[in-house]
Symmetry: C2
Subunit: 130 residues, 2 copies
C-alpha cells in the first residue's frame, strides 16, 4: 500500500511516517515512480512504534528492539549480535520499572477518583432513597 493508505489505517499522518523512515524505524520499498510502498505487516509495526514513543522510549532504542517484537523469533535469532542481549535485558528491566511505576500511580489516581465520587454523591446526606 502507499503512504496515504497506511496513514489512514494507523491514524499516523503521512508526514510522520516519512519521519519514522528518516529515523530508520521503517524501510518501505519504492515503486518505479519513487512512491513508497508498504507491506501489510508494517501496519502493526507503526502502531508499535507509536506505543513505544508514547511510553517514553526513544527512537534510537526502538529501532534496536523492534525486530524482537515480531512473533517468529526463531529465525532471526541466528545472528545474535554480542551486545544485543544485554541491551534487551536493560531495556526490558527499564520497561518493568515503568510498568510498576505506572500501575502504582494509576491506582493512586483511581483511589482519588473514588474519593471524589464519595465526596460528591453524598456530601450531606447518606443517600437513603433512590
Amino acid at each position: 500500500m502507499r503512504i496515504g493508505e497506511l496513514a489512514k489505517k494507523t491514524e499516523v499522518p503521512a508526514r510522520m511516517l516519512r519521519y519514522y523512515e528518516e529515523q530508520g524505524l521503517i524501510s518501505p520499498r519504492r515503486l518505479d515512480n519513487g512512491y513508497r510502498t508498504y507491506d501489510d505487516y508494517l501496519v502493526d509495526r507503526v502502531r508499535k512504534i507509536r506505543g513505544l514513543v508514547d511510553s517514553g522510549i526513544p527512537t534510537r532504542i526502538i529501532s534496536n528492539i523492534l525486530p524482537c517484537l515480531d512473533q517468529p523469533q526463531t529465525i532471526v535469532v541466528k545472528n545474535a549480535e554480542p551486545g544485543l542481549r544485554e541491551l534487551l535485558v536493560t531495556e526490558r528491566d527499564r520497561m518493568s520499572e515503568k510498568i510498576d511505576f505506572l500501575i502504582h500511580n494509576r491506582d493512586s489516581i483511581t483511589r482519588y477518583i473514588e474519593a471524589i465520587d464519595r465526596a460528591t454523591v453524598s456530601p450531606r446526606q447518606t443517600s437513603r432513597a433512590s
Copy 2:
C-alpha cells in the same frame, strides 16, 4: 533541606530541580538569603515526577495529577474542581493503555531473550550434562 541535598537524595541534578520549579511542578519556599528550601515530602514528589516524565507523561499533565498521588486524599477532595474528575479518568485510562502495551512488549522481549539463550547455549548439541 537545600537544593544540593535534595539533588543527592533524588539523584536529580540541581539544575533540573530548578527547571521543574519553573514548570510549576514543585514550589520550594525561600530562606532569607534567597536559597530554596525543600520539605521532606518533596523527595518523594521529585521521584514521582521523574517516573512520570520517563513514562512519557507531559509536565502539563503531571502538574494536574500530582496532588492526587499523595496518600491522604480525604482532605484535599473538598474543592472538587469541575473538570478535574474527567481529566483524571482520561489520564488514568491513558496510563492503563500504556501499561497493557508495555507489558505486552516487555513479554515479547523476554521471549526473544530466551530464544537467544536457547540458540546460544546449545546450538549444536542438546546440553545433556551440566
